[in-house]
Symmetry: C3
Amino acid sequence: MARSLDLENRLLREIAQVRAVDVHSHVQAQEPFARSLRDLLGYHYYTELAHSAGMSAEMLAPELPDEQAIPALLEALAAANNTVQYGWLMELSRELFGFTQGKLAAGNWEPLARAVRNAAARPARAREIMELSRIEKVFLTNNFDEALDAIDADLFVPTLRADALVFRLADAHVREALEHVSDVSVTDGSSLRDALAGVVERFVRAGARSAAISLPPRFRTQAVTAREFGAALGRALRGGKQDSGDETPLQSGVLFALVGLCRDFGLPLQVMYGVVRDAYQHGVPQGSDLPEAGDTLAGLLPLLNAFPEVTFCLSVLSDSQRQELASYGWILRNVVLSGHWWYANVPAYIEGDLAARLQSVPKTKLIGYYSDMYKLEFGLAKFSMFRRILARVLAEEFVEPGFGTEEDALAVARLLLHDNAVRIFGLGD
Amino acid sequence: MARSLDLENRLLREIAQVRAVDVHSHVQAQEPFARSLRDLLGYHYYTELAHSAGMSAEMLAPELPDEQAIPALLEALAAANNTVQYGWLMELSRELFGFTQGKLAAGNWEPLARAVRNAAARPARAREIMELSRIEKVFLTNNFDEALDAIDADLFVPTLRADALVFRLADAHVREALEHVSDVSVTDGSSLRDALAGVVERFVRAGARSAAISLPPRFRTQAVTAREFGAALGRALRGGKQDSGDETPLQSGVLFALVGLCRDFGLPLQVMYGVVRDAYQHGVPQGSDLPEAGDTLAGLLPLLNAFPEVTFCLSVLSDSQRQELASYGWILRNVVLSGHWWYANVPAYIEGDLAARLQSVPKTKLIGYYSDMYKLEFGLAKFSMFRRILARVLAEEFVEPGFGTEEDALAVARLLLHDNAVRIFGLGD
Amino acid sequence: MARSLDLENRLLREIAQVRAVDVHSHVQAQEPFARSLRDLLGYHYYTELAHSAGMSAEMLAPELPDEQAIPALLEALAAANNTVQYGWLMELSRELFGFTQGKLAAGNWEPLARAVRNAAARPARAREIMELSRIEKVFLTNNFDEALDAIDADLFVPTLRADALVFRLADAHVREALEHVSDVSVTDGSSLRDALAGVVERFVRAGARSAAISLPPRFRTQAVTAREFGAALGRALRGGKQDSGDETPLQSGVLFALVGLCRDFGLPLQVMYGVVRDAYQHGVPQGSDLPEAGDTLAGLLPLLNAFPEVTFCLSVLSDSQRQELASYGWILRNVVLSGHWWYANVPAYIEGDLAARLQSVPKTKLIGYYSDMYKLEFGLAKFSMFRRILARVLAEEFVEPGFGTEEDALAVARLLLHDNAVRIFGLGD
């Protein structure tokens, strides 16, 4: 008997038709798709690879004309045309803009640029891209003080991003924005909680179904007493010199308060764990963050244990925690595994991670994928990549070894791409 | 040429017939197999998955009737029917109890429950299960003060579990049990060693061929002087407040004393490295422990270096140490790699780990697998899973790339499943 | 459609013909190939495996006759004939010495020993081996005070090994050798820099195209002020008791000075990260070092950020940093990923690492492989192994998923084996 691709291809045909929910993106509701090829090439995946491959960062200056900036980028990107990131660009150019050449180069980008501009002018373009991508809903990531009106609820779901509140509350701008948006004067733990409640309520009214936060490596959560939190918060609010020991009680205090509100309002928390911001000093914008090896998720346990009623959708950036994450999803009832984030969003890692998750974690606790995209076009290519990997893993690691039938495999695929997200975030409500 | 499954299938047919030695289990000699379906479903793999997938822990109350408890478990487990753990349940139900349906559900469990009850009543059922599983011997894990008579030496091999001695010697109950079982009054380092020698001797007389211990992550061994150990032990025995620095000298002191006895009595030590006990506060019984990422085995080096004559059979819980473990087996003469433990006992991890071990560690230093089971029935399913993976890895990573012939591959399989365990633990003696 | 090996085999036929550059070895220019079978079997891969599998270290005594030493080694090595290391020995014996038997044993080694001796006597044997291995250049690793004349520049490229300078400058022998070779009296930071400049200049004049250093795990680089460095250096040079805090400023100070010279002289730095020296106290010579799990490359960031103009060719020993390393190559312009080092040089690891690198890092920033060999013969077997893995990964992870054509795949292979090394180290200059 020969190992066959038939099964994989049959699965893929079905999986390609499943309408997906994209639970994490950075799409801007007012500007959800690319107006120009430069918008597409401005995605940090391309600018950072071009820079890494040798392009001067000066080529990214907005004032440069397309005729100078685009060829410079494409010439450098030729050195990265082996990568999956480059593959996304080619796939979306082909599928969304009819670009049929194998490589994008200094000599052939202009028709593509025209196609992008023309498509951008079409009415209901966002919806059109999502239809072509078989993506039903796209979650946004919104700062706590961002305007939430004029978000098309048919397409988008806002998410409260909590990073600034947890990490920069001592910053006067953040506090003022918080007071402004909540109409609460923040003077102590109790009024802070009120202000945060105001924020969460505002988001829930605007249709938000989750909060989200990205955490640095070595982040340690800790249940702090009201008194410890009050003291640390007091010093932070007075803006004076803080105690060296204040960081953990302050951050944990705010985070626990927020998660308490998640519980009260029935919101899951999406946790993206393990990014070192600004690690590379010479990086292009958004191209300076890195994973850090050798860490553990154990620092989250005090939080996960303190809120058994809150669903935590966890993603990790480093493969150091890949198996630990699966183990958490395996026994912690309130932990859902979510997608393959950023530096882990590479087929070789996804394949192994996905196989292990499918083999050890209840299928109802797996959110297969999210795009993390800034422009809608990338959802098509990124989800396509995931659909292919999903078909391959289901064929080789699920149906062939006898864990289930082909029908079972498709049921799993529907859960991972759509049904679990709908259930966990209450999208049908 | 097409990649063929013929080779893999031929290898599997032979490997399926190799009678295995199971060097680590939690089977109770007096109650080695399931009396009921509820016994089988009570295995923590199922209770923890059902709870993780949403079942209330109250459904595990022993006083609930089968008609309430079993459907509740099975309904929750349906959410985990993608997992390998569920696969074990189906495979043993089919192979040992003639259950032929693809899924186990609220509507079809009663015939299986009857089959389990009927089979349990058959004479020599333990031997029958082991024959059907092609498992020749099963190692038990016995507390130091456990009764060791009435262990069927044809089937079982006792193992001295050292956890309580190393980690809870300061507990008066543990000390009293030690004094009772050894008939030595423990007052200092020297009398402790005598008491431990009494324990080891008792186990050896009862047929034990190894000691075993599970260690937490970040465990650091350290050669301590008799004086340091005596001081720490003195404080522990007096039961008063211990020095904060006592933990390492006390634990290492006891561990080194035990390993010295392993050397004197010719016993290998089985080390299961890296489990965080009670990490998940809301877990069901035996479902609250986790691995911890980011650790190293380097903390064991003082111990491994101090006893070059003792064979250490190492297992790790976290894939953080998977390659480190292989490297230890590669150059440390007294290190044997043993099986795929608990959270690492998932095909996606086993495949990669096994391939790397076979490619870099002498084949005589690999104990392929152990079941870690509580009831004999699981040995069939778990070893079957491993036999399939072994056939696949030997086909794809050994025979096809030309490392050896098909015959060589089968010789490797026999070592991993049987011969190495016999030689290392002196089972033929 | 059946998954086919045709593509893989076609790719391999071409890849086998690419003349490679071997950027890291420990070959001695004066004694580059084996004079005897014992020379080959003396490679630490065989002595450590034989010892690990049970051979007494006494069998390695140089005074033992071949008739005693070789059979002892081969008998022990039979227990490791499953490993890739053993596979290298068989492949080079077949391809370079016409040894056609499947195993090397106590009964059949003598004809091979004769073949090795006869081949060693042939003129231009080094060149012949490299031709047969399709290796164009081999980098050497030379101590800073080593004689550099009489290196055949057609075959070999010297490399300045910086370990002693960074880690053992406080050792009077090292300092004296530095003063002798540079003709500079080292009394402070400034004269140290002059001495180092003398060393680097001498290497550049002798044809060196890079410096190299191996670093222990947990190594942390730190930009130190001239004053801090001067103080730490002063204490080190006076040879008295050093401050406990001196290690980092001293080592980082020397390392930064050296990397500043790399910048000035246009030399890349090859960094081999993560080896614990002498971890196994009972190991045979060169068989006592280990990787350490759980570490991060983040300790290198201060150095990588301080010298954006210097190319760092990074290798890691532990798979803990495998994905972190790929991420560094992805965004850090001055980081090149280099080969698969020592304990990571095992097909199961190489396959996964290579796939991830090809999917996420610009192809111009990947040095596919180096041999790390002590004798030229091993280059053939090690590079052959890598060529096979490269063909397999390019087939399954690059051409089949549509990242590029078969021609694109071969272009990638040429970069990884040859062109990138030529460009990065300026070999064509």
